[in-house]
Each structure stands twice: as structure tokens, then as C-alpha cells.
Symmetry: C2
Subunit: 224 residues, 2 copies
DNA sequence: TGTATATAACTGTCCAGTCAGTTATATACT
DNA sequence: AGTATATAACTGACTGGACAGTTATATACA
């Protein structure tokens, strides 16, 4: 070993120390921020801890993001785009056979909702919604509104096609989505054990009730 | 102007200034705290502002509550007790005629969910759940778990009585409750316009689909 | 006079954001 | 190739303000 005066740790790390070009940094910082925000909440999360998690100094974070709030906004933006597209595409593809599409969706969506990693940003958005209504609204418009809208369109297509009787498509859509939201709230926010451990069975049970409720030959409830 | 050194406001208020006995204070402070917590979030809410809203000095608040966190806990406690009782009682009463009870519940619950005042504490709990899991868990156990449990029991009673076919009662319960949670999340947390402006009609549409789905003569979906 | 109720003023700590300076990589020039 | 210069990536140390919680003091009333 050459008689270098540098500390040993530097020798070990020095190979990769500056090789990392800036391109990857923002994402690393955002991941760190998400973890800290979820663990401590937006206000209680410290920029220094976020930086440390991203293996950076606090000042380093400010080279990429103007402020703590900018970090939050970038975080939501990053997740919003892909989800919205995926959801709408999936549902548009199902218009040909709405019944099959609903069956597929119910299982697929339940799997999504059970995954803590995928639920991280929604959780964050909900927790900060009171303080930053613009962020919450953006999320609602880009994600929730699209999802419910697509689902409603799918059921409306089923009604037009004669697969379902003429119920309020929006209400039916929310009878599919609502229980999923409830499950997500329960598990990931209120910290409960899964309400429905068997994803496939639960999805099947739900779709069974829903499809029977939508059946063309069912007689509508008399409104007393 | 008389050469009094006291500020004028004191003279005006002094008549009633000390008359207020301690009994009412805690509630006033809790109401003020709830408002501030909802407006700014738990961390950003300032004890001084809470005190001012309750027409007290900051130190005054500390005569009744030990800390900011104690305020939060007291707030949740205050709301938890009555709600849990009311909900279970309502549902137990309906076991004789589950169908009628579900119809009633759907409309009643939709009205509840539409009321911002009643949704204030749930909103707060959700927003702080990440930071204070014990509070969230307590709320889940005392309120959400009881509500879902009662609803499930009601539907199970309907199945036993022959009003409904033998579906998974828990799933059916969540198909009633889920859309309500979705509506609440939408309106009160994500700041959307009401998804369903006409409460009665929406409740009717939902119960129509659900009851048809539960009908004893419906044929169960084949699970492919 | 004593006790309960209240407050103004204070203290100690915490942390977002800044800045002056350092180290690694890239480029220009010989 | 080697050396000088520029610039990108990064950091340690600091500041200024905010705010939870405390203390010393005042008022009301029995």
C-alpha cells in the first residue's frame, strides 16, 4: 500500500466517489425523501436525514431541489404520470368484453392495493392533503378521477352492450373501487392486518355480488 | 380619556373575564385545536394560535393539557366513544329485518359522510396516522373495526334468515361501506366536488345493486 | 389570607436554507 | 504526454427565525 496520507475509508470508496454523474442523483434523493416523509411525516422529516439517506450532505440536496416543498411536489409528479396512463389503457382495452375486464381488474387491482411500495405515494398524498390542497387536487385529477372515470366508462359500455341492466354506472364503478380503497386505508394507513388475506377469493366474492347485482334479468329494487 | 394605564380592551371584557369556570375550558380548547390541526396540520399548528382561538394565552392551555400531543390524544378520545356506541346499537337493532336496515343505513351513512363537521376527526386521524400509529390503531379498533364488524353481523343475520344467499358477509359489508369511504376521501381529503350530489338517489342505486347481488335466487358466478 | 385561574415574558432547541470553500472531472493548450 | 484552467459536484459550518414548553407575576374571589 502506498504511503498516502488520506484516510482509509476514502481509499475504499474513492474509486466510485465522483464517478456517479448527476443524472441519477435526483431519483436517489426522491427515494430517500419518500422514505423519510412516510416514516416521520412531511414536517418532522429533516432535510439532513433525507440527505444522509441519499448519501449526500444537506447542501447537496439543495443543488437539485429548491426547497423541501419542491421535493414533495417532484415526488408526487414522478409517480402520477405512469399510473394514470396504465390505468386508462387497461380499461379502454376491456370495452369489448366488460364482464371479463371487470373480473380481471378486480383481481389485478387487489394485488396492487396490497403492495406497500405502490401505496407509498398515495399514503403520503393523503397525509399532506390538508396542508397542500393543490397537490392533493392534482393527484385527484390525474389518478383518482381518471381511474373512476375509466371504470365508469367500462360499465357504461357493458350497459350499452346489454351485458348489464341500466344502473347508474358511476355508482357501480364505486362499488368496485370503494372496497379497494377501504382495504388500502385499513392496511396501509390505519395499520390493520389485511381484512382479506386471500386476494383471489375476495376479488371473486366481490365480483360475484357485483355482477349479480348488475345482471340484466335482475328486477330493480322498488324505491319505497 | 381617563389616565388609566390598562389597555381599553381589558375594561370592556373584565366583567366576564374570570367568571368562566374550568368545566367548559377543555372542550373549548379541544375545538380550537381541532380547527388548527385541520387547517395547518399537526406539526405546523402553533400552540399560540390554538390558545388564541380558544381565547386564552398559550400558558393557559398548559393548565389543562400537558403537551401538544396530549391535545391530539384527548381530541381523538373525545370523538371515539360516542361514535362506536351509536354505530353498533344502530346495527344490532336491525337484525330483525336486515333488508330494511341496510336501506336505512345506506342513506343515513351517506348523510353522515357528507357532513364536514363529522368528518373532521377522521381526517385528522388519517393525516397523523403515519407519525402516531398508536392513535391510528386505537381509532381503527374502536371505530372502523366496530362499524365493519356490525355491518358484517347484520348481513350474516340476513343470510341466516334466508333473506340473502350465502355470500361472504365481510365482502358484502365492505361493498356497502367502501363506496362511502371513497366518497369521504374524495370530498373531504382530496378536495373534490361531491361525486354523488343526490344522496338519496345514490344510496338507493347502491342498495339496489347490492340487494340484487345478494338475492337468494341469484345464481352464483362460476369461478372460471 | 389562601387558592385557583390566568398571562407576559422568557429560554432552549431545532432546523430550513445559505455560503464560502474543497475535491473530482473535463477541456484546452503546449 | 503533461500541465494549466474551467467547471461540475459536493460539503462543513453557520444564521436567523420559529416555536414548545416554563417561570415569575398578577388578578379574582372565598
Amino acid at each position: 500500500m502506498p504511503p498516502k496520507s488520506r484516510p482509509a475509508t476514502l481509499d475504499v470508496e474513492s474509486v466510485t466517489r465522483w464517478r456517479r454523474r448527476a443524472g441519477e442523483r435526483p431519483d436517489e434523493i426522491l427515494n430517500a425523501a419518500l422514505d423519510e416523509f412516510l416514516a416521520k411525516g412531511f414536517d418532522a422529516a429533516r432535510m439532513e436525514d433525507i440527505a444522509a439517506r441519499a448519501k449526500l450532505s444537506k447542501a447537496g440536496v439543495y443543488l437539485y431541489f429548491d426547497s423541501k416543498l419542491a421535493l414533495l411536489q417532484a415526488l408526487v409528479d414522478r409517480e402520477v404520470k405512469p399510473i394514470a396512463h396504465r390505468a386508462t389503457a387497461l380499461m379502454r382495452a376491456g370495452h369489448a368484453d366488460p364482464i371479463a375486464a371487470l373480473r380481471l381488474l378486480a383481481t389485478f387491482a387487489r394485488g396492487t392495493v396490497a403492495d406497500p411500495r405502490l401505496m407509498a405515494v398515495p399514503r403520503l398524498v393523503i397525509s399532506i392533503a390538508g396542508r397542500f390542497p393543490e397537490i392533493a387536487e392534482r393527484y385527484r385529477l390525474e389518478v383518482v378521477e381518471r381511474a373512476i372515470g375509466g371504470l365508469t366508462a367500462l360499465i357504461a359500455a357493458g350497459i350499452a352492450k346489454g351485458d348489464f341492466r341500466a344502473v347508474d354506472a358511476g355508482v357501480a364503478a364505486r362499488m368496485l373501487a370503494g372496497p379497494l380503497i377501504l382495504e388500502a386505508l385499513w392496511r396501509h394507513i390505519l395499520g390493520g392486518a389485511p381484512l382479506a388475506p386471500d386476494i383471489a377469493a375476495t376479488a371473486a366474492a366481490q365480483i360475484d355480488i357485483l355482477l349479480n347485482g348488475l345482471r340484466p334479468d335482475a328486477r330493480p329494487e322498488p324505491t319505497p
